[in-house]
Amino acid sequence: MKKGSLYTILFMFAISVFFTAILASANAFYQPSIEKNELLSNMKSILYVLDIKSISDENQIAEVFNNNVRTKKLNHLDIFVKYDQNGNVQGYAFPFAGAGLWGRINGYIGISADFKTILGVDFTSHSETPGLGGRIDEPWFKEQFRGKKISSEPGIILNNSSSRDEETGIDAITGATSTSRAVVNILNDFINELISKNISSLEVQK
């Protein structure tokens, strides 16, 4: 079957238009629910790092979020402020990002109102090896950060066999020391940046 160039070009054009149209409409159709999923998972993360009791029911997440947390802007950064029932600030959640072992790690860190302790840490996206570095998603790892002291020196450190520090030390993941170290470095860099820029609770409240 011999076919001319014009047919070839028209065919390629038609089939491209056809499949692109299908994908575009599928994308448009699913976009709202994809955005909703992303929003919900971000809210879940923020609630988690602010140490607000986790909710299993998807429908209540937005409600709990709106009751407890306000979004503010600080130097183009979205930050999230947690209030108690009387309107007192209880903590802040900041987004952070940095280089993991294989790719970028994004997440949120919750910091207490007096900027002295970490309320919680959560990771929203990363590309670490599933089963090794990917275990930073597991609750036992993330829970370790709660209540750790904020300081520029030594910052958060990894425990080793000879020393355990309750105030600043966390356990690394077995077989994933590089990822554990990367996470600690990202968080320390972020904390140092907060300290160096002198960002205090007052400035955030403005």
Partner: protein, 218 residues
């Protein structure tokens, strides 16, 4: 027709298994096989895409100009993969997070292109779809065997359930991609052995009964 279907099944699952016999799709066999769950989802995604893209390409095969057939195949395959990606992100956000970039990588899996080029291009839509489907199932079963060994030895679990009753030390190497090389190599070795014996046996039998046909088929 039934005979054809049987042949397609046998060929794709055993005789010309994509991973073990044709050494295709090795990249993803290394990447996603440290947990059985990841392997299963990846395998099902690939099976879905291979069946549908083979079906579509076979339907269009008489209209696709020969010179640009690979462009068209890639376009069709990519469309299905992107659709799967959008669908999973919208309806199963947790699985989408666990799979990360792997879904997009289905596009580059040579099995799909291989089936399109080797089979769908020359056969009718229905049998092409079956061919794609069983090629995917053959791939999935190899992935599951590899990940069974790796998850069992690397984590002491099967599909996430702890089976490490005697408390052996888990092997970190099994969690890393290189471990899949060893397992794939052993499977290729076994597969090659069985198939070589079988073809040798068939060849002997044919030489005895139909000597002329044998020489013609070489």
């Amino acid at each position: 027709m039934i005979e054809d279907i049987k042949k397609v099944i046998y060929r794709n699952l055993l005789k010309e298994n994509q991973v073990v016999r044709q050494i295709l799709g090795i990249c993803s066999s290394l990447a996603v096989t440290n947990l059985m769950k990841n392997s299963l989802v990846m395998g099902l995604g690939l099976t879905f895409v291979t069946s549908l893209s083979s079906f579509t390409i076979s339907t269009l095969r008489n209209y696709i100009p020969h010179r640009i057939r690979m462009l068209v195949q890639t376009l069709i395959i990519a469309s299905y993969v992107i659709f799967v990606d959008i669908f999973i992100r919208a309806n199963m956000p947790d699985i989408s997070k666990a799979l990360g970039p792997y879904v997009g990588l289905i596009i580059t899996n040579c099995i799909i292109m291989g089936r399109a080029e080797a089979f769908a291009q020359k056969n009718t839509p229905f049998i092409s779809m079956l061919d794609g489907f069983f090629a995917g199932i053959g791939y999935t079963s190899v992935l599951l065997i590899i990940s069974f060994v790796r998850e069992l030895l690397g984590f002491g679990t099967v599909f996430g359930a702890n089976v490490n009753f005697i408390g052996f030390d888990t092997w970190t190497i099994m969690v890393m991609p290189p471990a899949a090389f060893f397992i794939i190599a052993v499977m290729v070795w076994i597969g090659a052995n069985i198939m070589n014996k079988r073809t040798a046996k068939n060849a002997n039998a044919e030489i005895k009964t139909f000597p002329k046909q044998q020489s013609a088929s070489i």
